[in-house]
């Protein structure tokens, strides 16, 4: 097991190193930030001065080495537009994204798991059909459409909620539903199928034969075993959710990481893009690793070579 963990950690760092190269190259292929910083009356010398001050006149390998060596010392660079450390910028926005992600996850867990379980328990009946349609809509409806529709109905017409921004718990409701519905849908499906698998197993049949009340059969015996895949999906979903907030944050003008990175891409703010993508990738890689290790502790039957 120790050997497995060590191997996975080394693989993770190799992966991160490759990501730094890929992101570095792709951002530089996308265009020249100096051109976006000057007006239409700019001359060649105006553009050259900007490029020089940004360090973009140096060869790519020199730029990459400078970036990598500074990053290893904790300096992720400064935003080309705002001249502030990218790490602090990411930190500020990440807290906002974390809040949104957490509320969306709570929404997903509180709706997704019970709906999935109830669907499995009432299989073939009206609630099961409702659960399936709910899941289908969640995975089929485009996020931007859902967000704008919620805004039109709940804000513009009913005036129940603010349209956008952040400031109070009311600002989180629509973005959380918009972001969370997709993950709720996947949790419904996984919960339903995990529960159906477990309900069909021998020990559950034995419990029923012994006369255990159905409520206890489901809540005490079936649920625990059904939770393993649900927990795995939930943890992974949370990380995916944190990385997938771009559209929601843009529609609701929520100042999170998604909006920051998209804006940085359009404005060719390379250091911000590099920092956001790198940290998000690290989160994903290490969460994945943690889940794999956690899995093996939770279920002793699982062994890694």
């Amino acid at each position: 097991m120790k050997r497995y963990i060590t191997k996975r950690i080394i693989q993770a760092f190799v992966c991160i190193f490759v990501i730094t190269i890929v992101v570095f190259m792709l951002t530089r292929l996308s265009g020249d930030p100096a051109l976006l910083m000057v007006g239409p009356e700019a001359s060649d010398s105006d553009i050259a001065v900007i490029r020089l001050s940004l360090g973009l006149d140096k060869p790519l390998y020199v730029q990459y080495w400078s970036y990598l060596s500074k990053m290893l010392q904790g300096d992720f660079g400064r935003s080309l537009r705002w001249d502030v450390p990218t790490l602090s910028l990411f930190g500020e926005r990440f807290i906002n994204t974390l809040k949104l992600g957490a509320v969306s996850m709570v929404f997903a867990l509180f709706f997704g798991i019970p709906v999935g379980i109830l669907s499995a328990v009432t299989v073939g009946r009206w609630f099961d059909n409702f659960g399936k349609v709910f899941a289908l809509l969640g995975q089929a409806l485009p996020v931007f459409w859902l967000g704008i529709m919620l805004m039109i109905v709940l804000s513009v017409h009913l005036r129940w909620l603010p349209t956008s921004g952040m400031g109070s718990w009311k600002h989180l409701i629509m973005p959380a539903i918009t972001l969370g519905w997709y993950f709720t849908a996947s949790l419904v499906r996984v919960s339903r199928s995990a529960m159906l698998d477990v309900l069909d197993s021998e020990y559950i049949k034995m419990a029923r034969l012994k006369g255990v009340p159905e409520k206890w059969v489901i809540m005490k015996h079936a649920l625990k075993n059904a939770m393993i895949p649900i927990a795995t999906l939930g943890a992974l979903n949370f990380v995916v959710l944190l990385n997938g907030t771009v559209i929601t944050e843009t529609v609701f003008n929520y100042p999170g990481v998604g909006k920051l990175v998209v804006d940085a891409i359009f404005k060719r703010d390379f250091p911000v893009v590099q920092t956001c993508v790198l940290i998000s990738s690290c989160l994903f890689i290490f969460t994945n690793l943690f889940i794999d290790i956690f899995y093996s502790y939770v279920d002793p039957r699982i062994k890694y070579d």
Binding site: S30, G31, D32, L35, L36, M37, V38, G39, P40, E41, A42, S43, D44, S45, D46, I47, V49, I50, L52, S53, L54, R81, W82, D83, V84, L89, I148, M151, I152, S155, V156, R159, P162, T163, S164, G165, T250, V251, F252, N253, P255, K259, D263, F266, K267, R268
Partner: protein, 519 residues
């Protein structure tokens, strides 16, 4: 009896004096006219500056913050004309060797320090520092030799070359900053806690999310009518519209297709910032002397002009946010002639011209554009196809399109955003179309350049008007581009706003010190 009357008159005098005297102690505005109310303005562009430091404006909407917080030597009002601000008067040498400014003694920074010539000199020198990457930093460095302080309120700017753009750039971008304060706190702290001499002062801000400012009640030039203003950066068009409809925003930058949504809502109205730029169809192939191209024949270029139905595109796709245009000048430029009409839509004439030029079967070309102008570019391609010009669309992400355009990597046609009028003087406005030193010019002839050079040193509106008119005529004869439409920027305005008008032609919003709310 006489004593009683005298005493009566005495007491009448005292009572009257007590009533009148307080009025002498209230300079400017009465108590009833104190700034009141808060306004929220939602825009799509980010500010692109470090904190609130005016000398770090790169692009985007940073000029909005500059016009709120900082005063410049001069200012512009909604009529687009130049007015005194920190400089109460100025004199430009005929040969453009110097500009002399006399400062307004009443002007103060938000921390109470007076604005002096030393602050102005410091501001010029600071703006030219390359590490600040200021949008006009290099331009100032090119034109200004040195700044000489005569005394606290007099200074001379010595120029190395004529700088007719100066006043436009000044009003839009160049704010005067406090030397003593910046020397004390440093650049980083100044960006977090900026101080200017403008009609508003910073309350708080979050980088590119929100910027809040409050009125400077005793502002020397123009105390605002509103107490507070909040700028929110809201990139999504539908969200801005929703904010306006719910009252969360009082003024928004409007997406052109949403013009009809505003027109249908009785409590909302549109305020136009008119004649911000002229969209043109550029013939990229003209610059390649060694490569043959159908576009080198003026008959083919005229055919394109006749083929495009600009009236229909501006009405149906752009919802009236633009208008077909004939001249290369805006109405606020000297020499502008409203009698110069755009090419009429005449596909038969276009076909005849193509046949005359030997392209009766048409030809293939490429039509390049930024994704921001995808819809109208598709319409242009469709119109050209009807007369036989088969234009393959090359719609690019905006940053890629800018790079390709500026680096001259394109062929065929380009849907181009210049002349970049932006309320600027005629020399500045035409530079990005005629001056080969400017990257957006693409193609220009020696005759056009010669006329432009004369224009850039002409002084006086009359002389400029004659030269501009001649340049415009020559431009139409050479036809290096087809004029498409003049762009107007729509702003959605909510019911609380009684009056707001932007500077004529400006692409960024300003003049908030004149904004009034309904009672």
């Amino acid at each position: 009896m006489v004593n009683r009357i005298s005493r009566l008159y005495f007491w009448i005098f005292v009572v009257a004096a007590l009533g009148i005297l307080p009025g002498f102690f209230f300079s400017g505005r009465s108590l009833a006219a104190q700034p009141k109310g808060e306004v929220t303005f939602a825009i799509s562009n980010t500010f692109e500056m470090t904190g609130g430091d005016t000398h770090t404006i790169k692009a985007g909407a940073g000029a909005i913050i500059k016009n709120l917080i900082y005063d410049s030597l001069i200012t512009k009002k909604p009529d687009g004309r130049i007015y005194p601000a920190l400089a109460k008067s100025w004199k430009i040498a005929e040969d453009w060797s110097t500009m002399k400014f006399v400062l307004d003694e009443r002007a103060k920074f938000h921390n109470g320090d007076p604005v002096t010539a030393a602050d102005v000199k410091f501001s010029f020198e600071r703006a030219m520092r390359p590490e600040l990457k200021y949008i006009i930093g290099n331009e100032l460095k090119r034109h200004i030799k040195k700044v000489e302080v005569i005394d606290d309120h007099n200074l001379i700017v010595h120029l190395s070359e004529p700088y007719p753009d100066f006043f436009d750039k000044c009003s839009e971008y160049f704010g005067i900053v406090p030397k003593a304060y910046i020397n004390k706190v440093g650049d980083a702290e100044f960006a977090k806690h900026p101080i200017g001499a403008g009609p508003f002062k910073v309350v708080n801000f979050q980088q590119d999310v929100i910027f809040s400012a409050e009125a400077v009640k005793d502002h020397y030039r123009q105390p605002p009518h509103i107490a507070k203003i909040h700028y929110k950066v809201v990139p999504e068009h539908a969200t801005r519209l929703a904010m306006l409809k719910t009252g969360e925003a009082d003024i928004i930058q409007l997406y052109e297709p949403h013009v009809t949504a505003i027109a249908e809502t009785p409590t909302l109205r549109i305020q136009w910032s008119k004649y911000t730029m002229l969209r043109t169809l550029v013939f990229f192939d003209l610059q390649w002397t060694d490569k043959p191209s159908p576009w080198k024949d003026i008959r083919v270029r005229k055919a394109a002009a006749y083929a495009i139905n600009t009236a229909s595109i501006t009405k149906n796709l752009l919802r009236g946010a633009s208008e077909p245009w004939g001249d290369i000048l805006a109405p606020y430029h000297p020499g502008y002639d409203s009698g110069i009409k755009p090419y009429p839509y005449d596909p038969n004439k276009a076909k005849a011209l193509l046949a005359e030029a030997g392209y009766s079967k048409g030809f293939d070309t490429t039509l390049n554009a930024s994704e921001q102008f995808k819809v109208e570019t598709q319409a242009i391609a469709a119109d050209l196809a009807k007369v036989g010009i088969r234009a393959k669309l090359n719609i690019m992400e905006h940053g890629i399109w800018i790079k390709s355009t500026v680096e001259n990597k394109l062929t065929g046609l380009n849907n181009h955003p210049t002349p970049y009028w932006s309320g600027r003087n005629v020399v500045s406005a035409l530079g990005s179309t005629i001056d080969p030193a400017q990257k957006w010019t693409v193609y220009s002839t020696p005759e056009l350049q010669a006329l432009y050079k004369k224009l850039s040193v002409a002084s006086g509106s009359e002389a400029q008007g004659l030269l501009a008119a001649e340049l415009s005529k020559k431009y139409r004869e050479v036809l290096p581009r087809v004029n498409l439409w003049a762009m107007n920027i729509p702003y959605g305005v909510g019911k609380r706003i009684k009056y707001w008008e932007n500077v004529s032609g400006w692409r960024v919003a300003g003049c908030f010190e004149y904004l009034r709310l309904n009672d």
